[in-house]
Subunit: 205 residues, 2 copies
DNA sequence: CGCTATAGACCGACCGGTCGGTTTTCTGAC
DNA sequence: GTCAGAAAACCGACCGGTCGGTCTATAGCG
């Protein structure tokens, strides 16, 4: 990487890191640009060199969170040393651990920002929908594998089930944020892995 | 009711109606007081006679939505002419119809506002938790009845299941707001009533 | 009349964004 | 390698507008 690219990414990245943390905590409209800039240590003129508006910045924060989450999910869901069900469990346990450590992860941040800014722009809308589609597709693939191996109950259509799992996770994430503890995520894990996905006759190991 | 009380409630109620609609659409921080006042046709001095701050107003909006939702749920979940499962189905179908008609209902509005204002005050927090506890208790009671009648699968603990249903509904509500259609709520219905709650051997009618 | 409720001008703070100036980096000519 | 000019990136004072809240005056009511 050339020096100017390093400089460019450094400032921009610092902004995105600060935006991710502050928008996650205070919301998009609840946190002014000034605060983001202070935390990132970037003056206003620099900000507008990189992003044409706060809204474009918000889209970039969402896209970054999405891509990071996908990068995290991919190796976990693709780990062929484990069975499909184990891969799913590992992935959700990692997500739970992320939430326990920092209070939120991309799957919590993105819908939160989307709800708040949903009436603003098509860019936000498109970025969020893209995230959901990718998450859903990845989950559905692993679910299908598990069903084919008789490890996961075939009662539910895999695509439908993937959507349901994401919705349930989002609901649990809301409760976590409201309750300020991760009990809801534990409920999610228990429900999904101990009963919902359980194949009649499969071992729980 | 005395005339001044009518007068008092009229202005206050107009504010709460406007707040419910605008906060639901634009969020708490995304919608300024001026806009609420314009829609309600209430001058600023009057607003501050009834509410000491925007935050207190937000809490009142949440509490009103919660109580209205409970008032709506109660007769549906308590209708003994129907079986427990049918009562649940009717209630969620009514909620779905509310969302289809107006874009949201209390169960969508409350977590949305809670996420946005969660770092603000204990009052919001307390009001939201109270809502969840009441919804959950009501659902759990009906689920338990259905399980006792072998109408609803006993695989899941009723209290746990009530929490899961609420989380799943919240997740579906988020998707609805993001996708701008109610397909996610239909997925919720299909999943919950056609598979999840179905008692092995029970008729679907 | 006294109290409640309304009315709206006003306040300082904060908002997102603008814009002229400065510094740093890059590029091509010599 | 040096240098001059251009481009990229940084810098922060400034802007008009909006924000939530204050406060004095007035209207309405019993």
């Amino acid at each position: 990487m050339s020096p100017e690219a390093t400089r460019d990414l450094d400032t921009r990245e610092r902004l995105l890191v600060a935006g991710t943390e502050l928008f996650g905590r205070k919301g998009f409209n609840g946190c002014g640009l000034t605060e983001v800039l202070q935390q990132a240590g970037v003056p206003k003129g620099s900000f507008y060199h990189h992003f044409s508006s706060k809204e474009e910045f918000g889209v970039a924060v969402i896209e970054r969170a999405r891509d990071q989450h996908l990068d995290e999910m991919r190796p976990l869901l693709g780990d062929r040393r484990l069975s499909p069900l184990q891969r799913l469990r590992t992935m959700f346990e990692q997500a739970r651990a992320d939430c326990a450590a920092s209070g939120a992860n991309a799957e919590c941040l993105i819908p939160k920002l989307a709800l708040e800014t949903g009436s603003l722009s098509e860019s936000v809308h498109a970025a969020v929908k893209c995230a959901y589609q990718q998450w859903s597709a990845m989950l559905a693939q692993v679910l299908r594998e598990g069903q084919n191996l008789h490890e996961i109950d075939r009662k539910h259509d895999a695509d439908h089930l993937a959507n349901v799992l994401i919705m349930l996770w989002e609901g649990a994430a809301i409760r976590m944020q409201i309750d300020r503890n991760i009990a809801a995520l534990d409920d999610f894990q228990t429900f999904v892995f101990d009963t919902l996905l359980r194949h009649p006759g499969a071992q729980s190991s």
